[in-house]
Amino acid sequence: MTAVTAPRVAGGRWASQVLGEAGIGVALAALVAFFLAFAPYFGTSQNVRDIMTQITINTILAVGMTFVILVGGIDLSVGSVIALCAVVAGTAMTDSGLPTALAVPFAILISVLIGAATGFVNGFVTERWVVPSFIVTLGMLYVARGAAQQYTGAATIYNLPPGLTRFGTATFAGLPAVFVVAMLLVAVAWFVLSRTVFGRLIYATGNNEEAVRLSGHRTSLIKVACFVIGGACVGIAAIIYMARLGVASPILGQGYELNAIAAVVIGGASLAGGRGSVIGTLLGACLLGVLSNGLNLMGVSDFQRTMVTGAVIIVAVVLDAYRRRLSVRLS
């Protein structure tokens, strides 16, 4: 502490801390409480496992998206790229002629590589020619979708290795194994973002790229790396999708990008970059997953469910904004 000006320490620091960290957690808690009261079976262990399984893919995509958004980018292509990864990896598994024990790791590798490669293209084009990632990844959305369709000729890939699909339904310490994978990814991402030099540079670059560049860092590299990480996460999500549903089709994943972005933004990230956290993203994905699951259980009609989903998204961010300002005032 460098008290040249004696700072008047104000109370309520702790309260602000908790409220600030909790982020969207308050809205999530309210939602859970509501469903516990009104949605039958919501609190059953079966349903909790369902929710975990259901949020897995979006969580993984959203974790990757967090990296992209933190450096001020956006990736609209994830919904198409997950399809591309899935059909190529799925074909690799079913047609490679390798034994399952080899075919699955091989397919995982391929999936992650394809995801990372599309991420690299997105990032590289964005950085090399200084064009908005919004439009580059919009282009990639079309390219990857077309490529996925071209690759399989629209056919759905099935008879995936049983080892993989067993993993999709396996549990680990009572939790769905796929969910455990997602949590591991969240943990790694949290560690990278909050504890490493790379993570620090990601935040700093998203905040003021020029300042970071003038401090001797290659910001383009950092940004491209974030796109690559985002793409690799899509590759992982593609594998999880296949494990979970046992099929891969070139039309899968439509609209996933908006869900992933929504999770990140609901989690408190700024689309301008530099602000956000992977914990917030996880909470955002939970909120969306709980909402969809709870409304399904309540038997709300499809149209009303659509409306309520929209309304809850809006109310959640408004509440969060309110809370954030409140916590600033308290501190």
Binding site: D50, I57, L245, S249, I251
Partner: protein, 298 residues
């Protein structure tokens, strides 16, 4: 799968009439089969040039309108269309008819009222979705017996074939005396069906049967059934290759093949007849076939 017109003679390439086949999203396996069948058939006939296109996705109505407009601009002699929407395509179809282009409607029937209002009459070549769904549902009803508890997974709300299949399932429910516990859309999608059905099964652990409006959704539901080792049977629609193992294993008791590959080919045949001067009207029903464990082969 398209032969391009090198010869600028309007609508006639090498003396052969040009026929446009306008599909919904070819990313859907079913329409892909339909197109493949049409291409093969045209090769066999060898008396026309086929130009086939499809939209980017199933709800891309104005994309399909633009496709039809391009066919009119290209002065095709006939258009065979699987409309993305039974009403929204009527206006542009009427425009084609007025441009003296023969139009044959396949797959989903254009809305009669809308056709009437537009003042055109277009023959329909296609399956009876409602009857097909009824047949598929009946297998399940027979298996479960009266009082069997079932749910329906619907297609896109408002989509014509979705409505008809739902109606057909409802017919089967009524005829078989089943108890319908829930009926919800999963928008034709595997992932969504998986989530929706998981919740249905949580809320109604006593579900005995699922009536899925297409195989993709059935696949999502079957995953839940397998995961929870529930004794639930599925009746479905489409007969895509991916469901074969499930029919064999007995989880899926029935699905319905509407011979998509034949539908477009039939449509093309009718279009050629109309080009030759014949008048074709009304509904030319195409073959549908109930697929069960007994006839799926191995």
């Amino acid at each position: 799968g398209q032969e391009s017109t090198d010869d600028p003679a309007p609508g006639q390439a090498g003396g052969k009439p040009t026929v446009c086949l306008v599909m919904k999203s070819l990313a859907n396996e079913y329409f892909q089969q339909m197109q493949d069948g049409a291409v093969k058939h045209v090769q066999e006939r060898n008396d026309l040039t086929l130009e086939s296109t499809g939209t980017q996705n199933e709800t891309d109505v104005d994309g399909q309108v633009a496709l039809v407009e391009s066919c009119i601009t290209k002065l095709a002699r006939a258009i065979v269309i699987a409309p993305a929407d039974s009403k929204a395509l009527v206006q542009v179809v009427a425009k084609a008819v007025k441009a003296d282009i023969k139009v044959v409607n396949i797959d989903v029937k254009l809305d009669d009222g809308a056709l009437q209002q537009a003042g055109v009459d277009v023959p329909f070549v296609g399956p009876d979705n409602r009857d097909g769904a009824r047949q598929s549902g009946k297998v399940l009803a027979d298996l479960l017996g009266r009082g069997g508890k079932v749910v329906i997974l619907e297609g896109n709300p408002g989509a014509d074939n979705a409505t008809q299949r739902k109606n057909g399932f409802n017919d089967a429910v009524a005829e078989g005396g089943l108890t319908l516990l829930d009926s919800k859309t999963a928008h034709w999608e595997t992932d969504e069906a998986n989530q929706v059905f998981a919740s249905m099964l949580t809320a109604h652990p006593d579900i005995q049967g699922v009536l899925a409006s297409n195989d993709s959704m059935a696949l999502g539901a079957i995953k839940v059934i397998q995961e929870r080792r529930a004794n639930v049977k599925v009746a479905s629609f489409d007969n895509i290759p991916a469901v074969k193992e499930h029919v064999q294993s007995g989880v899926m008791v029935a699905t319905l093949d509407q011979y998509g590959s034949k539908q477009a080919a039939d449509g093309i045949d009718y279009a050629m007849k109309m080009i030759a001067g014949e008048t074709v009207t009304g509904w030319q029903k195409t073959e549908i076939k109930l697929i069960t464990k007994d006839n799926i082969g191995s």
